[in-house]
C-alpha cells in the first residue's frame, strides 16, 4: 500500500497528508492516482481543502489543487494554509461560503404562519401567506413575505449583515438582521399606507423603506 498521499476528512473539509521525502513529480502522480481512486467515495460535496506534511511552494500548491479538481468531482470551495486551528478555519470559511449561498438561493413556503409557529430556513425564504403576530420566521438569508408580516422576522441568522426582509404589508412586531434587533413603535401611526417595504441593515441600524429604484440598487445578494 502506497502511503505517500493520505486523505483525511473532518467535518468541514479534507486534509491531504503528503509524504515529505518523495520527489515532487512522483508526488503529483501519487496525488492524481489517489484522488482518481477515491473519486466515487468523495462525491461532489463543497469542501475546504488543506495540505499537510510537506512544505509547498504557492506554485506547487496550485498545481496540486488543479490535479485534485480534475481527478475527482469534489467542489473545492477554498484552500487553507497549514495551521493549528485548521479545523476552526475550515468551519468558519465553509459557513461564510454557505452564508453567501444561502442568501442567493431560496425556498418557498406556502401557508399562513400563526401564533406560536416558528420556521427556520438555511436559505432565503419566500412566504406565500401571512406571518401573524406571535409567529416567527428565521433564515440565514433573506426573508420575503408575499402577504402581511405582523410577527417576527429574523434574517441573516448566523451573521449575514447584507440580509434583508421584504413584505407586501410590513407591520412586524420585531425584525432582526444578523445581530441587530429593531422593534415596532409603541404608537402605530394611523395614517400609514399599506405598501410593500424592505428592511435592511445599515451602520448598525435597521431601516425600513418603501421599494424604489435606489433601494434596489443598494441590495447585494
Amino acid at each position: 500500500m502506497d502511503n505517500s498521499v493520505i486523505i483525511k476528512g473532518n467535518n468541514h473539509g479534507i486534509t491531504v497528508v503528503l509524504d515529505a521525502a518523495l520527489e515532487y513529480d512522483k508526488l503529483k502522480t501519487a496525488v492524481e492516482e489517489k484522488f482518481k481512486d477515491s473519486s466515487k467515495f468523495l462525491g461532489s460535496a463543497p469542501v475546504v481543502l488543506g495540505f499537510e506534511g510537506r512544505a509547498l511552494l504557492p506554485q506547487q500548491e496550485k498545481e496540486l489543487l488543479d490535479i485534485i479538481t480534475e481527478s475527482c468531482e469534489l467542489n473545492v470551495v477554498c484552500l487553507v494554509d497549514t495551521n493549528e486551528e485548521r479545523e476552526k478555519m475550515y468551519e468558519k470559511t465553509l459557513s461564510e461560503r454557505l452564508m453567501d449561498i444561502s442568501a442567493a438561493s431560496g425556498m418557498f413556503y406556502k401557508g399562513n404562519l400563526r401564533s406560536g409557529q416558528a420556521l427556520t430556513f438555511e436559505s432565503s425564504v419566500i412566504i406565500l401567506g401571512d406571518v401573524n403576530p406571535g409567529a416567527s420566521v428565521t433564515s440565514k438569508g433573506n426573508i420575503i413575505v408575499l402577504g402581511a408580516l405582523k410577527g417576527q422576522a429574523f434574517a441573516g441568522f448566523g451573521g449575514n449583515t447584507n440580509a434583508f426582509v421584504l413584505a407586501f404589508d410590513m407591520a412586524p412586531t420585531q425584525i432582526r438582521i444578523s445581530d441587530t434587533i429593531a422593534r415596532s413603535p409603541d404608537e402605530p401611526s394611523k395614517d400609514e399606507v399599506k405598501e410593500a417595504k424592505i428592511a435592511f441593515l445599515e451602520d448598525g441600524n435597521i431601516y425600513m423603506e418603501p421599494l424604489n429604484k435606489k433601494v434596489w440598487n443598494d441590495i447585494r445578494l
Binding site: 401564533s115 406560536g116 409557529q117 416558528a118 403576530p133 406571535g134 416567527s136 412586531t173 420585531q174 434587533i181 422593534r183 415596532s184 409603541d186
Partner: protein, 260 residues
Amino acid sequence: MGEVIVITSGKGGVGKTTTTANVGTGLAKLDKKVVLIDTDIGLRNLDVVMGLENRIVYNLVDVIEGSCRIKQALIKDKRYPNLYLLPSAQTKDKTSVNPEQMKKLCEELKEEFDYILMDCPAGIEQGFHNAIAGADRALVVTTPEVSAVRDADRIIGLLEANEMKQTHLIVNRLRMDMVKRGDMMSSEDVVEILAIDLIGVVPDDENIVVSTNQGEPLVGSDTLAGKAYMNICHRIIGEEVPYLDLTEKKGLFSRLFGKK
C-alpha cells in the same frame, strides 16, 4: 425579601391575565418593585396585554434552560421603571419547565423584587403546578357564574392540598344591575360558596376591553374597574380600604329617559 403571588382561576377567560397586568401595574404605582411572570407557556398573552410584545428577545424557557441570564430576559415596562415582565415562550410547551425550576427562579427573583406575580394558565395540569410551585400566596379569580365558581372551588382545594399559606378571592366582571334583578350571584353569594376571604370585587367594565386592546392597564384610572384594581393593590400591601359602590352611575340622558 419579596413575596410571590400566583393569580389563578381554573377556568379560562375569567380575567387572570387582566388581573395580573392591572394588579402588577398598580403595585408598581405604589412604588413597589414588581415583576410579572407569564407562566402560560405556549399561549402567552400577558406581554400583549401589557403592550410589550415587540420587546421580547428572551423568555421564561430560555431562563430556565440557562440560555440567557434572568436580567437579559426581563423586559422593563414602558411606563413604570420599577415594573418588569418575564414573558413566556410561544413555541414551547408546558413540559419544558418543572415546578422545582420555577421554585428556584422565584427564590432568585425574591432577592431583588418586592412582588413577583405569576400569571397562571387555565387548567389544573403541569402549568398550574409550575405557577404555584414557588408562590407564597394566591389570588383566585372568578366570575359570578356557576361554572367559574365550581372551578374556583376545585382550585382552592388544590391550593390547600399544596399548602398555600394565604388564599384570597377576587370576584371579577360583576354586574350590579343583574345582581339587583336577581339574575346574577352577588359577591357575597360567591364568598359564601367558596368560604375564603375576599380581597376585591371588579365590575364588568367595557373600559377593560379598550385597555386590553391598547396594551395599557387601566388600574388607577377614573373608571370603576380601574379604582377596583387599585383598591386590590392597597389591600395586598396590607392597607384597609372600603369596598366601592359599584352601582353604575348613568349619564344624565339615560337617567332622564332610561327605564328606571
